[in-house]
Amino acid sequence: MTTGFQGIPAAIDLIHILDTIEVPIVFVRRDFVIACFNKAAADGLGLSAADVGRTCRDVSVLARLPRLEQQCRQVIADGVEWRADFRDGDRWFVVRISPCSIGDRPISGTVLTFTNVTAFRASTDQAIYEREFTKAILNTVADPLVVVSPDLRIQSGNRAFYTTFSVSRDETQGVPLDEVGNGAFAFRTLRAQFEEMLAGRHAFQPVEVEHVFPRKGQRTLILGAHPLSVPGHSQRRVLVTFQDITARKQAEAAKDLRSEKELRRSEAFLTEGQRLSLTGTFSWKVATDEITWSEQLYRIYEFEVGMPVTLELIRTRVHPEDVSLLEKMKMVDQARGGSNDFEWQYRLLMPDHSIKYMHAVAHATRDRDGQLEYIAAVQDVTVRRISEEALTRARTELAHVARATTLGTLTASIAHEVNQPLSGIITNASTCLRMLDADPPNVDGARETVRRTIRDADRASDVITRLRALFGRKSTTTESLDLNEATREVIALSLSELQGSGVILRADLGDDLPLVTGDRVQLQQVILNLLRNAADAMSGIDDRPKQLVIRTERVDDDGVCLSVQDAGVGFAPEDIDRMFDAFYTTKSGGMGIGLSVSRSIIERHRGRLWAARNDDQGATFAFSIPCAPDTKPRPAVIEPEHAMGKP
């Protein structure tokens, strides 16, 4: 040990102990001379062994202590300890000067201890800084904040708290929160909630409160509370927050009002639109028969608006012949699945026996539980339908008149042209016979009449030749075509006509149908003819559905077959051979030309057309034609027929 308690010989153990203390300790004699110091003083204050016996005034670190000498004298004189803060560079010390006496001797000097408080000073400064910083933040927050004790007594608030509630810090200190603002926050559950929160059972549920402020008037506040606890402190506090949501509430209310207005307006638009377009809408949950109707639909069906709608009620209006459509809607989704947009037409039979024509478009969806629901728009197309029907009737009549006129004119013209020479032939032949029967026979006269007979016969033959030139078949145009597509076009053309006759058409068109070669228009005429025949055959049927099935399929690898199956009156077995004769008909208004022409068209496509009686009801007419050769279809030239006479 290099340093020691000079002049204190009995204290070896004490010196040892002092050297282990990290706090620098310096003994100063009465005469202000350093008597001794411990190891920490050497290390911490830079004292050296040479400093022992020197006056403090000459030791730099002690010389920097202001008024040290006077203080030491004072301590010796008073016998009372003195302490002071001392800054040495960036270090802070608490210097303590204590009177020192050894044994029974009077005070012989002072003991200086230097406690380094640099770290403590730094953390205190930091704490002060943090506190000021937090205070600044709290005071700039616009929302009132207040810290209360667990029994709700106010401890401190931020500036916004005092200004908002128009109270001062002093008058609220220690006042229970539920007495502030005329008891605005004295609601029953507040204290209970605090207890729950502080006991750690429930978080505080923010509460919306109304409060009338002296200057601001009525405001809506959300009161929140958060427990504040400092580790090591048993005392708990609660931060109470007030959030002014008045402006937000007003904005929301305005927005609600606005969107409600907009909603009302678009509803009004919709209603007016439905009224003008005579369109109603409905939704139908099939499983529960829950039906929702728009106002316009009530008007169309002529039910009192708001009346509960049931299927039974709807049935009382739907035309008896169209009721089956309702049943079909129930089934359709089970059968198909997938996309289910479809449209159909039906009629309403009103109590006054008038008929309304409806056009409906429905979209089938599945709700969350997988239940079928329809959303549909229904338009009253009666006016349109009536004018369409009038137009169709006029067109049909016109076509009929045109055809009758043409045929009548044609017939008269043909009759006249042919009857003239025939008349001559008969008259001449009669004359000839008479001349030959005479006695003696007038052979010259007879020869003349025979010559005239031949001339007249030639003349009749010329008439026929001219007619054929006029109506003779031209060469047909051929192309590769998709029979399904051609069929769909025909269906599209005749659908409304078929629907009008109450026919339920089912198209069963085969997949992967090969192309065929032929005259598209002619084949379509055949298909149309078969469809019309089928519909006509069912016109008088009322004891069963007028079911019509049109089907296409591939046959024998190299052919395509189209069949039309009806549930009509059918035909007698003995009629089957005559049916395709040119003028054979079972129809009262028919021309009878259809099937024979159809057959000749199909035969020119190298195919065949036939008829068969169905097992149950009706008949099936079908044709098959060969498919187009190879993948690269060559137009097959179909020659015009020359068999009927001179070219």
Partner: protein, 123 residues
Amino acid sequence: MAKRSLVSVVDDDESVRESLPDLLREFGFEAKAFASAEEFLASGYLEQTRCLILDIAMPGMSGQDLQEELTRRRQKIPIVFITATGDETVRPLVLERGAVECLFKPFSEKALLGALNAALSVA
């Protein structure tokens, strides 16, 4: 044998004008053929004609026009109409106006004889 009765034929069709008079002569009548109503009216044979075989459809004056004209002139010549159009509606019309018969071409010898007999019995 009494003087043969004159049967006049008015038809625009030449084969009729050639063949019908021959047959009428075979029946034992006198026969004259005219290509139009106008030609007949101008011929001067009106008075002698005991029976008129008259085509309906002709250019210019039709058979019915001639029937009217004869009625107007009070020439009561029995008329047998012949027509090639096959229009059935014309027959009751002309019979109502006094025609003896209306034959549709081609007509048989028997039908023609029947009509002629009816015509001559009227006269």
